[in-house]
Symmetry: C2
């Protein structure tokens, strides 16, 4: 029997440790994967890929005990050597190799994609087909570090605002909300579906925890084949009770965005540099009515309004453009969406029930959030359902929750991959999805 | 157009604010749900349920402007009044009501379960059938706050250890690993499955980020109907590269447990008090070999070994008992599980390939973690698969990853609901699952 007492400090050092704890001339030990080798005959630059970035190691013929032939691209190695400054090397440091221990050798060091290039100019198709390889490229993987930052900020900020994190089931019975766009499966000889949103559950939990959030996958069996749709994505959802109006939801999301940008700046500066991203200003975000901004962009950009009750993607882009030109903002809340375009649980505007107390958030003209106040009174909920010809079948527990009292409440859902796409300036949401699921893609 | 600039401080106060920022005699405003009313005729104690706990409000006939009849159980209200000390009230404070504003009235204030009782002595079946109601009970909901703490600690600790959070797809193509225990669905006219673990994906991402974790649902179509199995649960998974051995994984998990207990003590003291939980000592966790401890408990407790290559639940309980009696520990790592009981990717022990470099973590005799070192060399992986009669069908991308080089690595998966069950001393995992999915339960 032995005791485990926790993590001991590693002998091998990370890049940040080399920079903070070592000085030139020190003998250090590091591990990493051989990202690429620049071989000049009697000298070779061996670039290690580490989790924090790239690290240059230098082999010189006749120096140290390193057998140059042992060092192959894609091998995992442990290197000891002397740390030196070198302004031309990544992070301004390099290691003069003394010994190398090969931990793992690839069966095939010839990568199917040129991952060692700074920019991986390969087709999206190829990148997705070889996902575990293409992401070994420094720039490709950096996007997912920023995605981590967005998720992490969401949770940290909401913990601080008194929210409770919940885990709601993804397999469920059929419900009225779903319609045709749900994936169906068999659950021990019973028909079941994959949840397309945690909506009902998070509302039910508002009656328990008052403020809840979830960061989890959602599933949409939509037959869209666009650059901005996925059939499975990560949804950052919150729902909060005791709101005075849907403005409280927009304020909470603005607070999150401010916190997220601060966190990215503090903890993900390296990735922002790698991708040359300057963070958007979220100190204030304009909010405009759906009908007003629709007219405004129609006038400003001379585009005819085809459907007064819906926004086409091109209109969203123009609204984004207008927000930038008129208010200098990359973000804009569009409020009071038409009732017929919102689900039954959306609260209608008492001043004009054709519209709802709801909103979308556009980021450079792309919808990344849908939110709004929900109906909290049982009788009104039943009325609204009736007016839409819905029955309560499969929604018994949801309705029961309202029957026994619910505070005024509302919430939002953010599409994480889309948000990351806009932040990183990509034009296809698959670029910011580790393993996308779309009409044609079920693997890897 | 208006600007959103973030969250403004609420006029209404939370319990922690009342305790920290107010003094007796202050006029304060709070909101909450009327949890219960104790009516003494000319005086009534109105207990509000707030997200941080219970708050006593006092109505007195003839004082203030409150219409007593307006106040109903399960109503959402906003109360103003004078804060006073009262050692008999929750948190030692109460509010003498001056005004009340009813924000929402229940259609039916008669709860289907007696949620205002301190202990909800209702059958598990009834609690699950009325999940959104039963969790309104203070003790019932407290368990899920602790569950939040365990998840939060997992992420926070691993961020600090250089891990990257990933989101891997839950819908996938059929793979060899799955076997019979996977849920099947139709994905745009193609056969698909729900992932029973992020195993392949997190290994593939070790080649990219070196250290990764995920906290997400997994799906098991197992026909178990026990107190400790669920068909959908939340898995806390990590995988890390450049390990020296599987001991590094146990050390990392021990570090997590230490961090988690510290976080619970710091931020979830209220819930620990409500549930009368004293946290386990995780300063050191014993690790014992599978074959040794099996013999040990057989001798100590006189139980015959039926199958030398497997642990029965009763044996796990005895191991837990032994760890407590011999080493004073609620936790024990059991190492070197037999190869035939581990998946193909488990690394066999070079000293005795009948066993693997893997482990389970038992908590009071219940398995809450499975982990181990994985095979990282392509050729050995193929050999192991061949020896088990497996083909690489559906695993092309997984195998390709190894073909192009992978560091030595391993990881673990923790069952969140089970861990919470053991921490809270429950004997059924459904007690610590918001909305359990089992053989018979697909709703709510």
């Amino acid at each position: 029997m032995e005791y485990l007492t926790g993590v001991k400090k590693n002998e091998t050092m990370e890049i940040s440790q080399l920079l903070a704890e070592s000085t030139p001339g020190d003998r250090v030990k590091v591990h990493g994967v051989v990202h690429t080798i620049r071989d000049l005959g009697t000298v070779a630059f061996v670039i290690l890929r580490k989790r924090e970035g790239l690290l240059q190691c230098v082999w010189e013929s006749g120096k140290g005990e390193v057998n140059r032939k042992e060092i192959r691209e894609a091998a995992s190695v442990e290197v000891t050597g002397i740390l030196e400054k070198n302004p031309k090397a990544p992070e301004g440091i390099e290691i003069r190799m003394e010994t190398v221990r090969v931990l793992s050798t690839p069966a095939d060091g010839q990568m199917p994609l040129p991952i060692a290039k700074w920019k991986l100019n390969t087709s999206l198709e190829a990148k997705l087909n070889y996902r575990s390889i293409s992401l070994r490229n420094i720039r490709e993987r950096a996007r997912f570090r920023l995605q981590e930052g967005l998720t992490r900020a969401f949770r940290d900020y909401l913990y601080g605002q008194g929210f409770t994190e919940i885990h709601t089931p993804k397999i469920g019975a059929r419900s009225a909300e779903g319609g045709a766009n749900v994936f169906k499966l068999e659950y021990f000889h019973r028909p079941a579906i994959l949840q397309q949103s945690p909506q009902f559950y998070k509302q039910m939990m508002v009656g328990v925890f008052e403020r809840v959030f979830e960061t989890a996958p959602v599933f949409r069996a939509e037959k869209h084949n666009t650059k901005r749709h996925l059939n499975e994505y990560t949804s950052l959802d919150f729902e909060m009770g005791f709101i005075d109006g849907f403005e409280d939801l927009m304020a909470m999301e603005t607070g999150y965005l401010q916190y997220a940008m601060k966190l990215l700046k503090q903890k993900y500066e390296k990735e922002l540099d790698i991708l040359e991203i300057s963070l958007p200003d979220v100190s204030r975000i304009p909010a405009v009515r759906f009908d007003d901004i629709k007219k405004q962009v129609s006038q400003t950009y001379g585009r005819q309004i085809r459907n007064p009750f819906d926004l086409e993607p091109e209109e969203e882009q123009l609204i984004g453009r207008y927000a930038k030109e008129a208010w200098g903002s990359d973000f804009v809340f569009v409020t009071h969406y038409p009732s017929k375009k919102r689900p039954f649980y959306a609260m209608d505007d008492p001043e004009d029930p054709r519209y709802t107390l709801s909103f979308d958030l556009l980021y450079n003209g792309m919808e990344i959030t849908t939110g709004g106040q929900r109906i909290h009174e049982y009788d009104r909920l039943l009325q609204k359902m009736e007016s839409r010809g819905m029955t309560g079948e499969g929604m018994e527990q949801y309705l029961l929750t309202f029957r026994h009292g619910m505070p005024p409440h509302g919430g939002i859902g953010i599409g994480l991959e889309r948000f990351t796409m806009m932040l990183t300036g990509e034009d296809n949401v698959r670029e910011t999805t580790l393993f996308p699921r779309d009409l044609s893609r079920l693997e890897p």
